[in-house]
Symmetry: C2
Subunit: 321 residues, 2 copies
């Protein structure tokens, strides 16, 4: 939640001529409603399981990125961008439901995972259902479907590359960056790019926003991987330690001692990682990517939405869950 | 394969003024190539697993339906319809890969299933990948995406309803027809409807072709369910008996003795089913649906493609695999 301070008043007591500020919360409420309404299947399990995972919340960073990019690029009627933001979040949600099957995750967003309540078969079908609802939301958007198709495909490729790298014991730094570019940054890039395109942005604005999304996507994933090691399950709202235990994530790729899946118990593994310099290095990298992201916004005119994008970027690294 | 006979020559030795015939095989070759090229991931597992399942073939009845509907509705440049046909077949292929995970199917199209070679994790991701490639193929088609979104969603709903009905012991006739309408007939309907729309067909042609697709979809699934009981795995190219063993399919819904999952060994169960009248009834139902399908084509002008659609419809019931 962004708490905005009242603007400082000018000397004569009259309110300043404020720029019209972008109401992010109203946009997010619209997106939530849209997602909820979209998964209205007559088949009880699909509707219930979809709403279970959606109503658990989440950071909603991708839809924030879409609507803020839309506004920063000059868009005004946010209902033009809301279905795109909802579609992006549904791609992410579908991937989360399928990830939890593959990782045997039992907690997600502070709740029991879909697979732990409904079982693997229904979880697989729920993820598929959410994917099909992305189409439905995207159908009116013509060429923007290409951006979404590429991002969804990249996401699956990143997840696959990760599983293959772990299996083949090839979790190097180079592979790590390729993985996070595909599995996370591509959808962040699309989230921003779709917002920009819906606003009818110029090519240079669109590229700036796509680059912004891409780089905070990289930062977001690196911080996620660090939190997997340093935070507890309760704090994260999902099973912590799962990445490092399975031999993947930033610290595994950056700590040569951990390149092979460790046979240490999780606590010992964590203690050893905390003593190394991988976590420090991760924070440096994440900060670097946020700086790149933010500096690229300089081509855009100043606006409340642009300022909110900058705040969003820094919130990605300054977080504990 | 359709083997066309050389046309009878007229008395004076000159070739007759033949209607230009629709070259179905050339269209199918184009579709195969397109699917093969589309799943060209840099991630080895996705590319290999996708091509493994695609190159195993299959009846390709859905893409046949798309391109024949296109031609019967007056379309001429088949390359306009080929990506739609490929997209429809990829939806089906993705669902097959995911079904085999849920059903522990080990053989598909006469080959080891994706999950049996690459394991469940990679099979799940391969199915997801194929779904994302549907978007890519559909992206240029604007409003046609709505038809595809609805069909894909219905397919997942049908699969889910089936699993839920088995689990809750509610596999009645009524539920059975709802299941096959969703899981099979909706995509057949879309396959035909997409072809018609790509040809710029009138609303009445489009409706006739959609109804045709829908009804042969119902017939196809009923025959599939019968073959599950009457044919062997080798003949089908997939594990036979899986439906009836799991307490689903036409004969389960239509034979009151089988409404509850049977504890008989599969052979005994099959023998008991063969003695009942469910299989006879299934053939009658399937034939009825094909008759409805074919009679609805009367609004379309005669053409070689229309004739090929009629042949396709009857091939759905006259098959042994």
């Amino acid at each position: 939640m962004t708490h905005q301070q009242a603007p400082a008043r000018s000397g004569n007591g009259a309110p300043p001529l404020a720029e019209p500020s972008f109401n992010l919360q109203a946009a997010l409420d619209q997106i939530e409603q849209l997602m909820y309404d979209t998964v209205n299947s007559d088949v009880d399990v699909l509707r219930d399981a979809s709403r279970h995972i959606l109503s658990a919340g989440g950071k909603r960073i991708r839809p924030r990125l879409t609507v803020l990019s839309f506004a920063a690029a000059g868009g005004s009627d946010v209902s033009l961008a809301a279905p795109l933001a909802a579609a992006v979040e549904l791609v992410h949600t579908a991937s989360v439901v399928h990830d939890d099957i593959n990782d045997h995750g039992v907690v997600r967003r502070g709740r029991p995972s879909v697979n732990s309540i409904w079982g693997r078969t229904f979880a697989l079908l729920t993820g598929d259902y959410l994917f099909t609802k992305v189409y439905e939301l995207m159908a009116p958007y013509g060429n923007l479907n290409v951006l979404m198709a590429e991002a969804a495909s990249a996401l699956v490729e990143g997840e696959t590359l990760q599983a293959a790298a772990v299996k083949n014991n090839q979790f190097t730094r180079e592979v790590y960056y390729r993985i996070i570019a595909l599995k996370t940054a591509a959808l962040f890039k699309a989230a921003a790019g779709l917002g920009a395109r819906a606003a009818g942005a110029s090519r240079s604005f669109e590229q700036a926003l796509e680059s912004f999304g891409y780089h905070i996507g990289l930062a977001f994933q690196i911080v996620d991987d660090v939190l997997d090691v340093t935070a507890g399950s309760e704090q994260l709202g999902k099973t912590s330690g799962i990445d490092v235990e399975q031999g993947r994530g930033f610290v595994v790729a950056h700590d040569h001692a951990e390149q092979a899946p460790s046979t240490d118990p999780l606590d010992a593994l964590r203690a050893r990682i905390m003593q190394g310099d991988a976590i420090h290095e991760a924070h440096e990298q994440a900060n670097h990517f946020v700086e790149v992201a933010v500096s690229g916004l300089s081509v855009l005119p100043d606006s409340p939405a642009k300022q909110q994008l900058v705040e969003l970027a820094w919130s990605v690294v300054d977080r504990s869950a």
